[in-house]
Symmetry: D2
Amino acid sequence: MIPRYSRPDMVAIWSPETKFRIWYEIEAHACDAMADLGVIPRENAEAVWKAKDVDFDVARIDEIEAVTKHDVIAFLTHLAEHVGSDEARFVHQGMTSSDVLDTCLNVQLVRAADILIADIEGLLAALKRRALEHKNTLRVGRSHGIHAEPTTMGLTFARFYAEMDRNLARMKTARAEVATGAISGAVGTFANIDPRVEEHVCKQLGLSPEPISTQVIPRDRHAAFFAAMGVVASSIENIAIEIRHMQRTEVLEGAEFFSMGQKGSSAMPHKKNPVLTENLTGLARLVRSAVVPAMENVALWHERDISHSSVERMIGPDATITLDFALARLTGVIDKMLIFPENMLENMNKFPGLVMSQRVLLALTQAGVSREDAYAMVQRNALKVWEERTDFKEELLADKDVVAALGKEQIEEKFDMGYHTKHVDTIFKRVFGES
Amino acid sequence: MIPRYSRPDMVAIWSPETKFRIWYEIEAHACDAMADLGVIPRENAEAVWKAKDVDFDVARIDEIEAVTKHDVIAFLTHLAEHVGSDEARFVHQGMTSSDVLDTCLNVQLVRAADILIADIEGLLAALKRRALEHKNTLRVGRSHGIHAEPTTMGLTFARFYAEMDRNLARMKTARAEVATGAISGAVGTFANIDPRVEEHVCKQLGLSPEPISTQVIPRDRHAAFFAAMGVVASSIENIAIEIRHMQRTEVLEGAEFFSMGQKGSSAMPHKKNPVLTENLTGLARLVRSAVVPAMENVALWHERDISHSSVERMIGPDATITLDFALARLTGVIDKMLIFPENMLENMNKFPGLVMSQRVLLALTQAGVSREDAYAMVQRNALKVWEERTDFKEELLADKDVVAALGKEQIEEKFDMGYHTKHVDTIFKRVFGES
Amino acid sequence: MIPRYSRPDMVAIWSPETKFRIWYEIEAHACDAMADLGVIPRENAEAVWKAKDVDFDVARIDEIEAVTKHDVIAFLTHLAEHVGSDEARFVHQGMTSSDVLDTCLNVQLVRAADILIADIEGLLAALKRRALEHKNTLRVGRSHGIHAEPTTMGLTFARFYAEMDRNLARMKTARAEVATGAISGAVGTFANIDPRVEEHVCKQLGLSPEPISTQVIPRDRHAAFFAAMGVVASSIENIAIEIRHMQRTEVLEGAEFFSMGQKGSSAMPHKKNPVLTENLTGLARLVRSAVVPAMENVALWHERDISHSSVERMIGPDATITLDFALARLTGVIDKMLIFPENMLENMNKFPGLVMSQRVLLALTQAGVSREDAYAMVQRNALKVWEERTDFKEELLADKDVVAALGKEQIEEKFDMGYHTKHVDTIFKRVFGES
Amino acid sequence: MIPRYSRPDMVAIWSPETKFRIWYEIEAHACDAMADLGVIPRENAEAVWKAKDVDFDVARIDEIEAVTKHDVIAFLTHLAEHVGSDEARFVHQGMTSSDVLDTCLNVQLVRAADILIADIEGLLAALKRRALEHKNTLRVGRSHGIHAEPTTMGLTFARFYAEMDRNLARMKTARAEVATGAISGAVGTFANIDPRVEEHVCKQLGLSPEPISTQVIPRDRHAAFFAAMGVVASSIENIAIEIRHMQRTEVLEGAEFFSMGQKGSSAMPHKKNPVLTENLTGLARLVRSAVVPAMENVALWHERDISHSSVERMIGPDATITLDFALARLTGVIDKMLIFPENMLENMNKFPGLVMSQRVLLALTQAGVSREDAYAMVQRNALKVWEERTDFKEELLADKDVVAALGKEQIEEKFDMGYHTKHVDTIFKRVFGES
């Protein structure tokens, strides 16, 4: 985690304060359940709630851990300092550290998922707004970086919307993957604790009981979670690359926001760099780098080894914090992004009219010209445009063979942009469900 | 793809014959739709179906491609050789190569997913059978490779069942991710083809129309697909590692099947190697290696670049064929796996009774002994067992402080195995939904 | 491995024929050494060489393997069919299968490295030729995709040369990493075979004896080998991305070779796609995907487990064949690449003269103008150029404050291109060692 | 970076204080060079050194950056506060921010490499000491986790030594890869700065001038650096896995250090977990996860894009700090590791004498028994040992066919351990260069 690429709400999820708070709630709810079951006295369960409004003292817990060499014991010792050591003596009874640690991790991941889901929803709103705004803003579509046929800027935003909408579904599925808790003891047999304790604690924390755990919650869940984040990050990169292309000097169809006339780099608007989307490209690599380690974490030895732990201490905060930041940054970029429709037209006409050459070729063959002859007709006129930047339509109108084959009216008609945008409404309806 | 790690049905999905067959169906259904729309003559659409039972000649298509340098054109030329070039002249009209290629790829991935889903179902059946068979076969649970508390072999199989059941859900989700087709033209605007053609073709092929495509179907779908396979592969590794541990000479609680007394390596049963599960460990790495490239494929330039194509030519067949093979191999291993319950007991008693030391410690503190004293009592007896392999229960029964604290009866009771298996039914019910 | 992305020499290294040939040589040289040591009779060693010119029959070996279930035994059986089973009875004595398999793998990797090294040398020659050719071809340098300051096309080629020259060194180091052999028996103790056999065989095969092996040659060597290939692949991607950018319609400063006027896609020169470099971008992802599995292969259990084997069966051929193909393809692209110097000038002057704005800003501050005033002077003139595409130098010459600060002569001088190319010779000398 | 997995010296390299210190030195040396060249006044260059002993105020620089939005400008502004803004006015002249940033990054990586190199040297010393100590400590060698033939614990340490010695060479090569600096201006042409400034600064900082840079130092260098760390990490995992296996309850041939009789988990020595080596297994995954992003960083657009920057801000500190910590932790583990030679013998004799079965088989065939008969003889005796744990040698001595074939003396001799250790000296000499 790097402060400059992080936002406070997500960072807070991973703070020691939050962690201890969740540990406390797990322990307190577990005591309630044990009291309900008659396993421990009711008053001891109730006593634990005395600490309900306590802000646990992280420094103090660290101090105790330095002695006990055990984080959960250190916390429990500190808890007893608030609750009274006699009252606290049944806390954690029959549980194993991982019951607390793993259930806590999943609470944190669920909360992280909630933020990421909200982030994606925010991004979707921005993408939709820009899509509607530029629904009919003409722009050349490109395959291989080469001009192909006209499309619209709105379609570009709409496809990013559809992609992010899929990511929304993926993050919701990912959230469900990790929304489980386990309080099942040293090897998951509930030998020392009743399964109903697990049920109660999970319910209170908004989790489902893990149907079968060992000492730990199975890590295929977490692998799926990080994999989903890797896909989201890759989509962010996809959008970032589009914007970086749009902003390059020769294209200049769009740009990250800057206000002309300000002091600063905008003294030279031609030097305004797409640094935010370049940054997003790098951040995507970082989020993605968590995927393989998370998958390597799945194969633990027998009922658990602790190799996954150091990995999760790093990738848990890093990947979620970075993805949250990236989604928010991208939303800001989309929201305020500058669009230059005139440049779009200028680019489309770099070789005036040539973008229609395929359509003319098709028309010629449909008019009965042999494929070979059609090629030759298009080629001789296209080459002139390519070399001298004359206008393709004018060349065609001046080519008597072409005119003979198509007639002037049909030639004109082939350059009608409406031909390319006639289904934009249909596509928008598919994507946004509106007419 | 390596022949020795492949099975014919999955291989067949990726054969040129299958590919051309799918291409054919896409083109033929598209012609039908165009005829329905009155865009091309009905008889031309019908003529295409003359090739319905043709086995396309791959060598001939390759020959044509050597000249045309274009795979789709080569196929269409060959198709015309069957249908008649006049009859075939409207085939592919208004379409772009990617319409055929991408829709075909997704048909292949959907079929691959169907096989993988069936594979997982087969594996689940084997895991369930072995889980029920060994529901109460006692075995020591281990954390960190160190004996912890008793569990059962059935629980081990049950947790693998639960994990694979989650993988079943993941593969079904992954299948849905790629079950789309696109016939939308050069930049996805339907400029030259009616969206209803796409709808018809997709319906015939069991796909949904991609709501918004460019020249290609968006690659976040494929990234999610390969990521799901990476998780499945990691679970395979998880199971493989367990079996490899069980089979190591010092543990020997289970083994890949071999029949005693046969000639061959079984001349020396102690040298029977877990080569199948070691192999699965390697195959898991291979399937997982497709995940990052699939994610790197998401960010294509503008309406498409073709960088994804070479990646998919390799990882498409490789990952699905390898995962299919691995799932089938694992199913065979589980199905016939040897289980050695006596060795499980022998291992559990390596330090006789020590596995119960934690429980005794707990009992002592619950009986009012201070934590410090309880530790000391357990320690002095545990050390004797550790060093001299005496029996822990006997040592405790001979320790007057322990007897004073717990009484002989309670000491005996602490070594009752039923304590550890009392919730096996509950867990099985959670996993298999049975009582 | 995909036939369309492979070249015969590299493919041949991984054929069964080559493998069996190497196995044969290992066994035959080992027999020689054992005869020298008096361990086996000289005539038996000599008899093995009777098979020197035999092309081993792969189908026959496969047939035997179907029975013996062991590849090395199948080969030895077949060898005995050529040499005579009595004569062959000492072949492989004291050796373990891995002695043959691992030594063979390293011979194959060394040969693969030799091809890759030659490939890189070929690429270097092409890069150097193009660098010298375009040493002074002016072109705008870009940071963030935005015009920065002038540079030359020769410098672009020269930096790719320097990068590939580092890759040459890396591949040579990688070759040395795997240029070892081991004939050390079941756990590497030479219990059944004299270390001098290993020394002799390695010497004959151009390898060094592995100083200490177990059953296998340690896999950190192979991890380093595949990692080096991953770096080379990333450099290929780097060059490919540059060319793809150069060829995009709006930039068009260079292109993969095509000849104008041909039939085919060149009917529309504006639609010529950089498919080779896009393909190289994908191939780079594939080569890179071998790196992590190769690293995961390092941690084998004890004296060996066989998890690495399936991984290497796949990534050994795949990564080397793909990288060989990619290097050759890139060399072809560089060799024949079209360069469009006029377009370079046109692009540099998209906003006429603006590329010099930074230099003017610097000059103004050096002339004593405050930073704030200098910014304002540059900005007001730059904005005019940005909005109206007038000429920056003309605007400056018409701005009396600027003229007052710098004088007309100095303004003119700031637009001198020689300023930017004055150190090209120095850099070329650094890179190519020439004056 | 996680505090609990970090050590102060490596952390210090990545502190803002260190970074600003390096920036300062780059700027100050550059001023010296410019003064030598007569480009700036000598007194201005000298004035910069007034700040030689200043501890730059990070909070103040952050404050300025909050206004200027530019880290290098913020630093220069702060520097001017120390040096005097008039005196400082030539600082950074003709340079670009990346000149400072990239050269600084490489200084940091070189320093990190120096620590890592020292770490590896420390680890090598520990491995060598333990190798010599246990040179002849007998232990069974295992392939596939299955007992194979005897080896020694010293050989295990020796092979880890040899592997780490290769890693030492790799880290030295990696250090050389990044030991370059660049001060070449906005696009690497030295338009505004003399190449001799670069030469001087690099010399002062212990770097070589980058032969050809763009705005940045080429990232293939860094990719190679992180790849080397990935290999080192994989070797750490290799050693960690061995120790984890040794410590598992059923094996118990070695353990991470613990002192018997202490309070704590050592109350139950059988429950002492190999948490350090499990942790190292996880840390290896983390270091390795930096490799692919570092490779993805190579392909920057044209003369630079800034996508690499966020990646390096994270993986630069994370990978080096984690690897440093892991190497130090591993050194501690090796140094104090407990070795249990009696358990090694006990394990080797789990099936008493069976470990020699292969040798007996070989002896029988060498004595002229047919392969089939030899198998049968070994098998019938091995099965008894396998099933009843009798002694293999005794069984053989009681089997009249075996005795007839080999004689009692030869049977005895086949169980001589010296046979397996006779080349240990040779191997140690190869590894440690001693006789």
